[in-house]
């Protein structure tokens, strides 16, 4: 019978199944960071348990770490969380890329970089953006700390088999439209809970022509559509990205692995429980104007009005969101002025993201009312960008060039947007207070954020790029 990649990977990982129970699934890779792991390790110690497979775990520090003046951490509570992870990794024998390690970075950026992320794996991490790794054709999902402890002790999880969903993007993307615009448009069109109970597979021509970095941006935000995981069937693009990476097999073993990885792709004629479709040509550069990722529009639109919604609760949700965001109904999006730009996060802080932003700002200056920072997704991304001279492009334009980490995506460190100020951000969440109490976040692609940094207001990057030609 024709099967989806979701069913294939799931079935390969069942350790035990019984009617009336979730399946006991084996976990191939467990990624850890400082914020959601300390209580799990403490649980192990209290129960006298050990880590079953430290060799299948990999840890780094990303959420809390400062992005300047390393390695000083001013916040004593944050510092304790960092030192706790160091101690836990040492005690339980887990490999750690610590704050000063050359491999350090956002956990979802370094997994793929190091080749730890591979097709067909089950991958978990105490972080909802674990869905990023699905870009390789893996089942990758975020878990809570109790589940982190469960995986540490048993290398398994009890999981009810999710429903399968296809999200098909028909046709080719238009000029200046990026992966970020595609995923924001999907979430806006179908809503932030459309994926609940599902694992989503992204398919279609637009996906096939994307690079791995673009695919990671798409899968990263699956959780913002409510799907626990999102993935893409492996193809030659996947194989070529993985070839030669540190943790993948080498030589003949790689060719064998590649053959097996390609065989995981969804079979012709396989059926999904739910199918969603969007046409690439209806997507333009996208930004959010509200307080969840589905509250967004194409850049040529205006802030919606209550009249645009039929349902009373949607009208009220709009009013609440606009009150928080300090926006008036009907305002053209391109007239909204900003004070901050953040280029970073597990969604958009890979090398190609920095290149896209640098291309837009080259030879120009950040608007005097704007503070703009670039936070590369990893030490490796930072080194590569510096080798290409991207740091100079950003610095000369007036951006700050920082060390890697999650930074202003969730503002757990010192990188905070002040109350009432507005940020053009390449991150993944625009919830109230996400970038600091009272902060106002607008999500968009790196190129769009770069264009806003220069003009001081939201700007259609296609116009900027056309002016360059």
């Amino acid at each position: 019978m024709a099967k989806t990649i979701i069913e294939k990977i799931w079935e390969q990982h069942i350790v035990y199944e019984e009617q009336g129970k979730p399946d006991l699934l084996y976990i191939d890779l467990h990624l850890l960071h400082e914020v959601t792991s300390p209580q799990a390790f403490e649980g192990l110690r209290l129960a006298g348990r050990k880590v079953r497979r430290p060799d299948l775990c990999f840890a780094t520090m990303d959420h809390n770490v400062p992005t300047r003046n390393l390695p000083t951490i001013n916040d004593p509570i944050a510092k304790k969380q960092i030192t706790t992870l160091e101690k836990n990794c040492e005690e339980f024998g887990i490999e750690l890329a610590d704050m000063e390690h050359p491999d350090q970075g956002i956990v979802h950026i370094i997994g793929p970089e190091l080749g730890l992320t591979q097709p067909g794996k089950t991958i978990v991490c105490g972080d909802s953006h674990t869905s990023t790794h699905g870009a390789f054709g893996a089942i990758a999902f975020g878990i809570g700390t109790s589940e982190v402890e469960h995986v540490l002790s048993t290398q398994t999880l009890w999981q009810s088999k999710p429903k399968t969903m296809e999200i098909r993007i028909n046709g080719k993307l238009g000029f200046g439209v990026t992966a970020k615009d595609v995923i924001l448009a999907i979430i806006s069109k179908f809503g932030i809970d459309v994926g609940t109970g599902h694992i989503a597979e992204y398919t279609g021509e637009a996906i096939r022509s994307m690079t791995m970095e673009e695919r990671m941006t798409i899968c990263n935000m699956s959780i913002e559509a409510g799907a626990k995981a999102g993935l893409i069937s492996p193809d030659e693009t996947t194989i070529e990205y993985l070839r030669g990476r540190r943790h993948v097999p080498a030589g003949e073993a790689f060719e064998q692995a590649a053959e097996q990885w390609l065989s995981l792709a969804t079979d012709e004629g396989a059926e999904y429980d739910t199918v969603l479709e969007i046409n690439a040509d209806e997507i333009e550069p996208f930004i959010t104007w509200g307080t969840n990722p589905s509250m967004g529009s194409g850049i040529s639109a205006r802030v919606p009005s209550a009249d645009d919604f039929e349902n009373q609760s949607d009208k009220e949700a709009l009013k609440k969101a606009l009150a928080y965001m300090g926006l008036e109904e009907g305002t053209p999006l391109t007239s909204i002025e900003i004070q901050h730009v953040f280029i970073g996060s597990c969604t958009n802080a890979r090398l190609s993201d920095l290149r896209a932003a640098a291309e837009v700002i080259a030879g120009q200056k950040v608007h005097p009312n704007v503070t703009a920072i670039v936070v590369p997704g990893s030490r490796t991304v930072k080194r590569q960008a510096e080798e290409e001279g991207l740091d100079s492009v950003f610095l000369e334009a007036g951006f700050e060039w920082r060390e890697s980490g999650c930074s202003m995506c969730l503002a757990m460190n010192d990188d905070v947007v002040p109350a009432g100020e507005r940020c053009a951000s390449t991150s993944n969440r625009n919830f109230e207070g996400r970038q600091g109490a009272g902060s106002r976040t607008h999500l968009m692609s790196p190129a769009m954020a770069a264009a806003a940094a220069i003009s001081g207001h939201f700007t259609d990057v296609r116009e900027v790029r056309l002016a360059h030609v």
Partner: protein
């Protein structure tokens, strides 16, 4: 984990959709390395003004709901981040049951690991409860064994729950200890895939 079966209390109506875990527990409180003590930070930026004083408009600051153990909210409760600090804060504050039309997957899962009962009712039922609970304090009686929620006038709503998680909550089982009973299956899987 504390077993849970019958819970009786006034319900706290929180009539909002898509309440994300950033609102339930804000990131500045995620730096602690303990599982306890998060209750005072629950819905922090809705409960308190920027100057630290209470926001009198917010339902948790209404004394009539002070001893409530049952939170009733709208669609897609707990969306966003996987932070288990969210259910820890809910439990530490004193809520044992959360009732909503739908929950985000990771949050829903996290509830079961902490002895919190997440109950899904139909949207119309939730709206009925919210409307009653907002006009006057309304007591509910939750019974997990029977899978029912009873209102003051004796109106009974029934709910579905996965039998595995029902047993887990009723008995307060530690899931890791249960999984250790399957050790031979895990070892066999590892041998086969080595």
């Amino acid at each position: 984990m504390k077993p849970i079966n019958e819970v009786r209390s006034v319900m706290t109506p929180l009539n909002r959709k898509n309440i994300d875990t950033d609102q339930i527990i804000s990131k500045e409180f995620l730096k602690r390395i303990e599982r306890t003590g998060f209750g005072k930070y629950l819905f922090y930026h809705w409960r308190f003004q920027a100057d630290g004083t209470e926001n009198k408009e917010f339902v948790l600051n209404d004394d009539r709901f002070k001893d409530s153990k049952i939170l009733v909210a709208h669609d897609n409760f707990g969306c966003g981040s996987s932070r288990e600090h969210a259910p820890w804060a809910i439990l530490d504050y004193g809520f044992e049951v959360v009732i909503a039309p739908s929950f985000a997957d990771i949050f829903h899962n996290n509830c079961f690991k902490n002895g919190i009962l997440p109950i899904r009712l139909r949207v119309e039922e939730i709206e009925e409860l919210l409307s009653k609970g907002q006009s006057a304090p309304h007591a509910l009686e939750v019974n997990l064994e029977e899978q029912t929620v009873k209102g003051e006038e004796g109106k009974t709503y029934s709910f579905e729950i996965d039998p595995y998680y029902k047993q887990m909550l009723l008995n307060g089982w530690d899931e890791i200890s249960l999984t250790f009973q399957y050790e031979k299956h895990i070892a066999a899987y590892e041998k086969q895939h080595a």
